[in-house]
Amino acid sequence: MDPREIVGKALEEGRRKLLEHEALEIVKAYGAPIAEAKLAKDPEEAVKIADEIGYPVVLKIVSPDISHKSDVGGVIVGLKNHSQVLEAAKKIFENVRRNAPKARITGLLVQKMAPPGLEVIVGGLRDNVFGPVVMFGLGGIFVEVLKDVSFRIAPITEEDAYEMMKEIKSAKLLEGYRGQPPVDKKSLAKIIIAVAKLLEENEEVESIDLNPIIAYPDSAVVVDARVILRLK
């Protein structure tokens, strides 16, 4: 779907937050590589999708009424085959029916599991003085505890994106440590620029969190995306 359509549909339905598959789709539309994901309506379709995108996969419930999916038993990770997916899908629907009986269910997100790598976060927001602003940092304690992040005002160039990565205190981790090779900064730069562009071209988007993004020596993928809109 086109980014404008995704945003338009959410606003029409009075949703301030994009559903997870919509959020992933919209960042993908701006050139950010994502961990492949598709929405299934039922367990059978989930299996079909899993076969298509390849194992292992993770299943996540998608509902406009559920923001903490794990709390209602709406997430199951590490599914390695056909039968595991079928079983897990049924179980998630059951869990959600029991724990959140009133929640509207959009479907089940089937997403390819990203192998371990370096977790980073890219964010964006709309500042009332400067307009669209982007943020970069490393995931986990680096962002949560140390608040080790860098900012730039959009629009930004590729050079700006590289500078943002160089500017954080833990920048050395991007260069690889304990014998690890450096991560693919070009892909990360592409993601940062995508967020800046997304904010610039979609006035209704208030903030974005891509967290985590997993970075590898030759690529990077967005695993989780959160896009908040402002209602008029």
Partner: protein, 471 residues
């Protein structure tokens, strides 16, 4: 094009041929009196006091209403209570005045509904009649060239600094007047200063643009609390353009984060107001001063020194301890203090007494004289791998008579490289210091402050070199 229009508009504020002072009075201690006195003392154009209560003030004919003045009025200064300002604005519009400084407070800054309403009303009258406004709730302008001086603090409370190349833009009136007073005490020159208060019209962006074109401005200092909503991008664009021509030193006040903001996302929770301003400062090529001391340290180095083309720094000292302190301070600021190259080391060994240390920092020791410095600097400064030199010539050393100072002044011109000095001590040091600074060689009282200032010069130089500007 916008740039030229703006300059034309703002020129009336700084360089008016005639000024009307609304609220002029002879009553001691009143704002309207101090401002009128300021103009009488220093302004070369025509002055028209306006106040319905008087026929004459301080020897000048006083008008009941601005509309009664037969002359054309370039600039009006308003110093009357807020509720009376809208009517005066209407009169000024009728009179055709296009530049107004509103000194009066009692507007939005009061937080009251009435204050907000009055501010909106004067803003509307200004827009409808194409009147440019500085203020309200401000000190206005101090111009050292034309004598426009609406700083309503009498000379005995706030000394006026000598003429110079620094122009100052301040969101805080109190800070502006304190800084000017301080500059006067230290004999540091100012060109023009503006306190814009609530900035309903003329703001930081307009003033940067004006000072960029102003030949009397060599460097701009800004004290900023916050920009107007939605003005951020223009600020970055304009500041970036201006930075290519002259340095802008900014002090951003209000560094603590807006903790109360509801955190709808991780990013929003992390994005303190200051974090975003820091990004903007960097993107615009501004130089950030982190403290009051730094504002002046940075201003003096940026104003006097040529661009620094690389990050190799050499230190020449007569005090080993200060050499070590400098090495630490410079290294911490990211500078490279190279080892003296072999051929230079040999040469220095040949010309210097054996107890001198030829390794960088080069230590001429306590028995040095002026000549020894000159010999060493003559070999250092022409080298391409030397990008800046810090000279420590503590005057407590008996052999230092002062010819080193004349040399440094000449060498700066001859070699076009940054030369800064460290000067620690009492009367003799102060004497050396003023002589150096009067001749464009900055003298710092501590190695740490010198290193921070040099770093600012380096960063600014890199910004200019990267973007193809020249000094």
């Amino acid at each position: 094009m916008v740039c030229f229009l703006n300059r034309g508009d703002l020129d009336k504020f700084f360089n008016p041929r005639s000024v009307a002072i609304i609220g002029a009075t002879h009553k001691e201690g009143k704002v309207g009196r101090v401002i009128l006195e300021n103009f009488i003392k220093r302004f070369k154009g025509r002055i028209y006091p306006v106040n319905p209560k008087y026929g004459e003030v301080l020897g000048l004919k006083c008008y009941r209403n601005v509309k009664e003045i037969e002359d054309e009025i370039d600039l009006a200064v308003i110093a009357i209570p807020a509720p009376a300002v809208p009517q005066v604005m209407k009169d000024l519009a009728e009179k055709g005045v296009k530049a107004v400084i509103i000194i009066s407070g009692g507007f939005r800054e009061t937080g009251t509904e009435e204050g907000r309403r009055l501010e909106e009303e004067i803003g509307r009258i200004a827009r409808e009649n194409n009147i440019r406004v500085i203020g309200p709730n401000c000190l206005g302008i101090y111009d050292n060239w034309t004598g426009v001086d609406t700083f309503f603090l009498p000379d005995e409370k706030m000394k006026r600094p000598p003429r110079g190349e620094i122009s100052f833009i301040s969101q805080s009136g109190a800070f502006a007047s304190a800084l000017l007073d301080w500059m006067a005490l230290h004999n540091i020159g100012i060109s023009r200063a503006v306190s814009y208060g609530n900035k309903i019209d003329v703001d930081d962006v307009d003033l940067l643009e004006y000072f960029a074109e102003d030949e009397k401005t060599g460097i701009i200092i800004m004290y900023l609390e916050g920009l107007r909503e939605g003005r951020g991008r223009e600020f970055i664009e304009v500041a970036r353009r201006v930075s290519m021509r002259k340095p802008i030193v900014i002090y951003k006040a209000g560094k603590t984060s807006r903790g109360g903001m509801a955190a709808a996302s991780h990013t929003a929770a992390l994005a303190g107001n200051y974090a975003i301003y820091r990004a903007a400062i960097k993107q615009a090529g501004l130089i950030e001063a982190m403290s009051f001391d730094e504002i002046m340290d940075l201003a003096k180095i940026l104003l006097t020194q040529p661009l620094m083309k690389g990050n190799n720094v050499y230190v020449v000292t007569d005090a080993g301890g200060v050499g070590v302190m400098l090495t630490d301070a410079l290294t911490m600021q990211g500078f490279n203090m190279p080892r003296t190259p072999p051929e230079l080391r040999e040469e220095l060994k040949r010309i210097l007494p054996p107890h001198c240390i030829v390794e960088n920092p080069i230590d001429l020791t306590g028995d040095t004289d002026d000549e020894r410095y000159i010999m060493v600097l003559e070999r250092l400064l022409p080298r391409d791998d030397v990008h800046a030199v810090v000279v420590v010539a503590l005057p407590q050393v008996p052999g230092i008579k002062g010819s080193i100072i004349d040399y440094l002044v000449e060498a700066k011109e001859k070699y076009g490289k940054p030369i800064i000095t460290i000067m620690i001590g009492s009367e003799e040091a102060e004497k050396f210091k003023s002589k150096l600074e009067d001749n464009g060689i900055p003298a710092f009282e501590s190695p740490e402050r010198a290193a921070v200032a040099l770093r600012a010069l380096y960063e600014y130089s890199m910004f200019r070199i990267r973007h193809g500007g020249e000094k």
